[in-house]
């Protein structure tokens, strides 16, 4: 085992060991977890509302801020915040959908994109005004501190927790949509909303709940990210541009597709850090270019 791990080979003049590749790949799963949560939320919202939620990054950031506020203003710790923050931000999402986003359904999809883009500017600007852009610290909860040896590297416990928690929530979302009666109604409404409405289903409410759910996913990712990255108004920006590339790569047709693509790209990004560090920020975009050239609809995209 040890012999395999310490095997090294040369790649463009960089000495690469298998252990380093495995280690960075595993750490890449963490970013992958965020990509998966965010792109999953985007895909769910797009399926139902036919808009690309540009405010997703801002709402992710609000999730992190909500947990910071719960801790600092109300003394509510990490684990309750993991449930409470997504609910609070999800409710905010529902409020947004009810008051403004719902006015745009009859218009070109591009207006939804523009509106949510404006929304993200407002939200980010407000947080920047009141909390600055330097970032606020958020402690890793006591039980998740430390690190564990997992065969080829020491994995910080909290990072392992992030991967598992995100994976659990993603799979749960997939199960709700693909395996429950509610999910079946949701999928039917995605295909043909007027018909489902004719069966007596309250489609507008379904749409509102879907938007709230997608936002809650983003906020959940935000809470997970809070102890890793400092809580700051721009934290969503760094993710959302990559997540759009992830969505283009995966195509928004499949729930499982966006989860798999999210995690896979995180791993690829991590491994690139070993091979060619300068490219780690752009490798996802390079993958997007390759996918566009070979499979323009995306890996899991439907022909439409």
């Amino acid at each position: 085992m040890q012999a395999i791990l310490s095997t090294s080979f040369s790649f463009f003049g960089t000495n690469v060991t298998i252990a380093a590749l495995l280690g960075q790949g595993t750490l890449g799963l963490i970013n992958g977890a965020f990509y998966a949560c965010l792109s999953l939320g985007l895909a769910v919202i797009f399926g139902m509302l036919n808009i690309i939620n540009f405010a997703h990054g801002a709402l992710f950031m609000m999730g992190a801020f909500a947990s910071w506020m719960l801790l600092n203003y109300l003394g509510i710790g990490y684990f309750p915040a993991l449930i409470l923050s997504p609910i609070l931000v999800g409710l905010f999402g529902i409020f947004l959908e009810k008051t403004i986003i719902s006015r745009l359904y009859k218009l070109d999809h591009l207006y939804g994109l523009l509106l949510t883009f404006g929304l993200s500017l407002v939200v980010q600007g407000l947080f920047r005004n009141y909390y600055g852009s330097s970032g606020l610290p958020y402690q890793i909860p006591q039980v998740l501190q430390g690190a564990t040896y997992i065969g080829f590297m020491y994995m910080p416990n909290y990072r392992g927790w992030v991967v598992l928690a995100a994976l659990f929530v993603c799979v749960a979302t997939w199960a709700i949509i693909e395996k429950t009666p509610l999910g079946a109604t949701l999928r039917a409404a995605t295909e043909n909303a007027p018909l489902v409405q004719a069966f007596g289903v309250n489609v507008p409410r379904l749409i509102t709940l879907t938007y709230g759910g997608g936002i809650a996913l983003a906020a959940f990712a935000g809470v997970l990210a809070a102890p890793i990255y400092s809580v700051n108004p721009n934290m969503g920006d760094n993710f959302i541009n990559v997540v759009f590339a992830v969505v283009v790569i995966g195509g928004m047709g499949s729930i499982m597709g966006s989860i798999v693509t999210g995690f896979a790209l995180g791993v690829i990004e991590g491994m690139t850090k070993v091979v060619y560090p300068q490219a780690s920020a752009t490798v996802v975009f390079v993958v997007m270019v390759i996918v566009l050239l070979t499979k323009p609809r995306g890996l899991f995209g439907k022909a439409a």
Partner: protein
């Protein structure tokens, strides 16, 4: 002339008159900022207003144009006209490469792809040695025009910027009113039908994209000479967003809208500069207001009131 209708011609002459008179009243450097932004917005409008392609990555072409103009005039001491032309060429070549990828998808995917590709360009500029990283390229000389006219005087520079803007403006107007432009509008209205009429719509979209990016590069290059600086802000996604806002506020698909938007947005930024992050909040709020209840934009609404196509 140039396909102007009578009211448009009157509006155009009024605009030219303002461009000639205003530098004697207002600070020319501020007006140059307005004009370069206006050219950038007009170029963007060529795509969104007449082909229906919403690009969220125009800053890549604007910023790269600025970098190349600034670098060539600073290090190679080329003529100002050459520097600006090289900026445009950079925008065009980059537009060809990125547009070739982006037009494979349309609608919101197109927006996301252009955003992601522009982000790639941003990271490239952050790492590449010639851009000066976080510092950017500073103290760029304005140089000389055609080897004789010294541009270090603000008024002399202003006339060059005004000429570049009017040239770009008329070029765009000419493009829109050419048979080529008619096909573009056909694509905007109904792409499958345009295809069935025998037009290769992808080629048309790509050409429009490249033209728009070339002019964005020209605008960026001109801006770099005016302010003597090219930085990461020019390639940042916030610049892309700002140009979308500028065009939307002025009026998508109108002839004079983008220029009007540039006047309003630049003035606003000028006066609100000391308010810090509130500028972002206000911009976002204007964005939302425009989308919710002001979709025609300023010029579109005026045109609607007067029953004119401006």
């Amino acid at each position: 002339m140039f396909g102007f209708s009578r009211p448009q011609l009157i509006a155009f002459l009024a605009m030219v008159a303002l461009i000639v008179v205003l530098p004697f009243v207002l600070y020319p450097v501020f007006l140059m900022r307005v004009l370069t932004t206006a050219l950038f917005a007009c170029a963007f409008n060529l795509m969104i207003g007449y082909v229906g392609l919403l690009s969220f990555g125009q800053a890549a072409f604007y910023g790269m144009g600025a970098y190349v103009s600034a670098w060539t005039i600073k290090n190679w001491h080329v003529d100002a006209s050459v520097a600006i032309a090289l900026g445009g060429l950079t925008g065009g070549v980059l537009g060809l490469a990125l547009g070739y990828l982006a037009i494979r998808r349309s609608g919101i995917y197109f927006a996301m792809i252009t955003l992601a590709l522009a982000q790639m360009v941003y990271f490239f500029c952050l790492e590449a040695p010639f851009t000066g990283g976080e510092d950017g390229i500073q103290q760029v000389p304005r140089g000389h025009l055609f080897g004789v006219i010294d541009l270090s005087n603000d008024m002399t520079m202003y006339w060059l910027v005004a000429a570049v803007f009017l040239g770009g403006f008329l070029l765009i107007h000419r493009i829109i009113h050419s048979p080529f432009g008619q096909v573009l509008k056909g694509i905007r209205e109904n792409e499958p039908r345009t295809t069935s009429l025998g037009y290769r719509t992808d080629d048309y979209k790509l050409i429009a994209f490249v033209l728009s990016c070339t002019l964005a590069g020209v605008a960026g290059g001109t801006k770099a000479l005016v302010f003597g600086i090219a930085t990461l802000t020019d390639v940042n996604s916030s610049t892309s967003g700002e140009i979308v806002l500028t065009t939307l506020l002025g009026g998508l698909g109108t002839v004079f809208g983008p220029a009007m938007g540039a006047v309003v947005i630049t003035t606003m930024e000028n006066y609100l500069a000391q308010m810090g992050a509130w500028v972002t909040v206000i911009q976002g709020a204007i964005f939302m207001f425009c989308v919710l209840s002001f979709r025609r934009g300023i010029v579109g609404e005026i045109g609607n009131l007067l029953k004119l196509k401006l």
